[in-house]
Symmetry: C3
Subunit: 452 residues, 3 copies
């Protein structure tokens, strides 16, 4: 019966859609394709590949039995996020602005080929931005891993892709496609070159609200509120993920120039310097000043924190500035890590908040602290503008996320069952895994004993 309905629906849509899908794409303005196009296209590929990096990083950092669910969630995140952003979010972020608040055209990919004006990037810019948007989503998935249900998570992901990310993005980057769009934060002078705030902090603040509302994983904190050791599956696999992410950052920052010119090499060099310097500081700061506690996650997180921080300012600092950004970002990360885990007692399994949130903020401020500014802008003025942008991002994201997660919690619920948390989330449950599930039930007591 169900099948008949589906078949009928398919046939009807085929008939009615008739030639819609065969319509030739609007031909792009005649442009001579050059190295700018291929550079942005390959940067889009590198940013897409960061999905694999996040996947491996997160799977390595969560407990072994949760690896499969984390990976599957990452994948569905990319799938849903990319489709939704492609069909709706992109228009909200880059479309013709309505009062500077949201974009109002370019939906369903219609019209994306005509711009950005003169560049002829068209679909390539579109691909690049889709890859960017899904990066923000993946950050949320990491923070909330090991206890969030699949359907509520996916719903949240879709809302981020259609509301939170593109609306704030419109305020900063809304003039990238239509040059004459207002973008009020950019118009004030707010600079976030490749998205320390627009991409990374946004993702982190959604995650922050998420882990606050859903609460820690079962048994993460003892009765005194001290964290108990949850063994990460495999640090070495996280290192693989980190190196893929780093590679992706060549495209993330380098591609944001939207051209291959003399600046790209410096942007990538700055990216490398900041990542390396932040990792170095995070490592030795933890080694010498923090009793080597959580040394591996701080080292790995510190590196990514440095990459996040330089993202905003990679195009307006020189090598020494990049070094300064990296060195300080390493410290910001380590203190932020302790703040989240030991002071606020929030459970962020992959360390997403200190990395993408705090280092994202720091990097955005570094634009004013270390960057080359216009001749008439004082560092203090710029610092104020940067702080404003960062605050707007925080308040806006926190507010919308709070409403979103609260509603989800009260309706479909956010959390998986305690059993699933202990033995690993299996999306789709028993039927998915067949007999294996039985084995798991049999060994439950045994596992419980082991966990005592």
């Amino acid at each position: 019966m169900k099948r008949k309905i589906m078949t009928t629906l398919l046939l009807i849509s085929y008939a009615t859609m008739s030639e819609v899908w065969a319509m030739p794409d609007a031909s792009p303005p005649t442009v001579s394709f050059n190295i700018d196009h291929i550079w942005v296209l390959l940067s889009a590929a590198l940013v897409f590949f960061m999905q694999a990096g996040f996947k491996a990083f997160e799977v390595g950092m969560v407990r072994a039995e949760h690896g499969n669910a984390v990976a599957i969630k990452n994948l569905i995140d990319w799938i849903i996020g990319s489709l939704i952003f492609l069909f709706i979010g992109f228009g909200i972020m880059f479309g013709k602005s309505s009062y500077g608040l949201i974009g109002t055209d370019l939906f369903f990919g219609i019209g994306v080929q005509d711009n950005p004006e003169g560049s002829g990037l068209g679909t390539i810019f579109f691909l690049f931005q889709i890859a960017f948007a899904t990066t923000a989503l993946t950050i949320v998935s990491g923070a909330m891993s090991e206890r969030t249900g699949f359907i509520p998570y996916m719903t949240a992901s879709a809302i981020v892709a259609v509301v939170i990310y593109p609306v704030f993005g419109h305020w900063v980057w809304g003039n990238l496609f239509y040059e004459d769009n207002p973008a009020w934060l950019a118009d004030l002078g707010f600079i976030d070159f490749a998205g320390s705030t627009v991409v990374h902090s946004i993702g982190a603040w959604v995650g922050l609200v998420g882990i606050w509302i859903i609460g820690p994983r079962l048994g993460r904190f003892d009765s005194h509120g001290n964290p108990k050791e949850f063994k990460p599956a495999n640090y070495s696999y996280s290192v693989l993920g980190l190196l893929i992410l780093w590679l992706g950052w060549w495209g993330f920052n380098g591609g944001s120039q939207l051209a291959l010119d003399g600046a790209v090499g410096d942007i990538i060099l700055n990216t490398n310097i900041a990542g390396a310097a932040a990792g170095l500081v995070a490592f030795f700061h933890c080694y010498w000043f923090q009793n080597r506690k959580d040394l591996y996650p701080k080292f790995l997180g510190g590196i990514i924190g440095g990459l996040v921080a330089i993202t905003a300012c990679c195009a307006n600092v020189n090598h020494f500035g990049a070094l300064a950004v990296g060195l300080t970002a390493g410290l910001v990360h380590n203190y932020g890590y302790d703040l989240i885990l030991y002071k606020l007692k929030l459970d962020d399994p992959v360390g997403a908040i200190p990395v993408h949130g705090f280092c994202g903020v720091w990097g955005t401020l570094c634009v004013a602290l270390f960057g080359q500014l216009g001749p008439e802008t004082s560092r203090l003025t710029q610092l104020g503008i940067q702080a404003l942008g960062v605050s707007v991002a925080f308040v806006f994201t926190i507010t919308v996320s709070y409403v979103m997660f609260t509603l989800l919690k009260k309706t479909i619920g956010l959390r998986v069952s305690p059993d699933e948390e202990k033995y690993g989330i299996i999306i789709g449950g028993e039927a998915n895994m067949g007999e294996e599930e039985e084995e798991m039930e049999m060994s439950e007591e045994e596992l419980l004993q082991l966990m005592k």
Copy 2:
């Protein structure tokens, strides 16, 4: 003694070959290298990288103890396949045609630099095609994993690289290098842009015959013919492989344009849309209509199925067409999966047949169903042509593969020992692994008990 013979042979060959290897390569026609060249070169790199994707995907899908053998087989596949295709297969596929049946020059890489005419791609086209050919081989390896012997497998692989793949390829793409070559299926109007049929289905049909002749893995089906659960090693590792494959597809489809022009962005966007849409449908179709049974493999397979399907038609549908191709491919995959496993009771450990076979066929038909056709071609006519091409591929591949596997079975045998199947194939056997092997024998009884 053996060593002396080898040394002597080496010295003789060095002497006789004298300056052969130092001969300068025939200088390519003077061309100005441009973004087309670098795009196809990088696409070749991406397609080569798909080897890593297949490797990780397959290792994650087979049982843990078979991971090493699967990985080693993948590697030797690439090595043997690439050398054989490079020296012989390429000539058969793209060489000067003999009665439209097979190509007859360009062997040993001689002459590959002179064409395709005017483009100056030369060696870069050669590299791209080598990477393509080995993709087809890898599909076979996945389907037959966990029970096929190493030497028979390698022999089959070599035959596919020298006969099956390039001969059928000659009929469709034989005019890519020499424009005036006849390519009878292409000449009839058969369209397979980047190889849903030429690469993917061919690989799948060889695998289909292979798993039919070699039979299922020991214990895969119970006495009633129902499949028993064989636990995949690590879905999250398969997700890594899938993401690498997806990245590779940017080059697989985008590079098949053999230029970087305005179409490439749309081709890649279509690829992304179809993969995402197919995954979405495969997931929720299984979740809501198939009792969530085999949810993970259907989700992963569905995504790849969507990517396979769009491969034939990515250059002649628009975004809506790509969406339609993807949505339907997800269904094709799920029904195909059940058909193979539950109806035909064939044992395809990595799900290669529904993905590369059925979705390959579907995608090739979608050229007619959803694609933009020439002004004088009706959808029905084109559908007939597409169906003809698909059928020829099926019949030709099935026939040759049947002869090949039957001969291999009757001569050197196809299958490893039951012990190797149970405890993991170790290519080269005991000597390879040293003492470890002994441990394994010791624990055999224990393992048997566990398996009861």
Copy 3:
């Protein structure tokens, strides 16, 4: 208190550095960016990605409990190596030469944008060379894995990055940046296109001295001096690493052309041929002539050996020459493997010495044996020059490494505790891992029993 000091230091440095980091980068000579620039930039990205390849390869080859430490070391290697080479090593290698011995400017990245003359590569060349330098370091880390302490290892790494690699590099490639620099080995006619000797052998010889001075892993050889089986964690993961390395080699060799011209396709094709041929020979030579002993490591090592060997000569052999280089390199690798392990009884867990050392030497000699030489150079003369270069590399590296490791051994010590060797090195020790450590101590006896 510590924190106050740090804060004060940071504030002081911020004040004094004032505008240093905001100084605009010296503007590069006005160049029109073209495909040469993007090709070398992407090659740099591919070479950087080799870090992930080495990581995965090594983690798969060591015992499972050492995977995390190996991965973390690889990462810190890249971080420290890239920073040090960036700020100091690059200047020593490519700076204005002092008597042909060492370079004397270009430190801290100052001036790197002005050259190589005419090419406008500037920072892109810089990025490419940084990625190269860290490759050499990683080789050392592999050879010495599973027993070297973290601080001594890092110190050694820094010394290699600042002394050994750039000084020898200056003698061969010192004229790449300033064309009129003397580079005495290059001036003699020594050819090492992409670094079989300059990168690979240098890394291997440092590692050779390292494993000789530090000695084998505990229990690696029995009382008769025969190696005992140490189970590699996961060959299939090493295969992933190998495929990433292979992909990286497209950039390693192809990018060394420093342009995208007609030679690049052939260079990459040669690279593929040699890797494949060497793997084939290593496999079947071991299979048929060496009792299949150590088949997997020989196969994997043979492939990488072929890639290492072709590195020196990929630009001056044709396809047949590449085949000859690969076929012979496979044999060199297998005999070298046995020499190191069974004759010299040196413990090289990942097989770095035969791969990067012996095959590096062989490939450098192959320039004379199989390459196309100038009209007035006899093969024998060239062979002499190549042998000289190879010998200088060996003697220089061995000498400096010997002094370095001896001093390190006598001061801070090279080796971790026996406990760490047995149960896996945890950098930062107990504090890093929290309670987990306790568990480990509890299960120690159990583990010991298992190991009997």
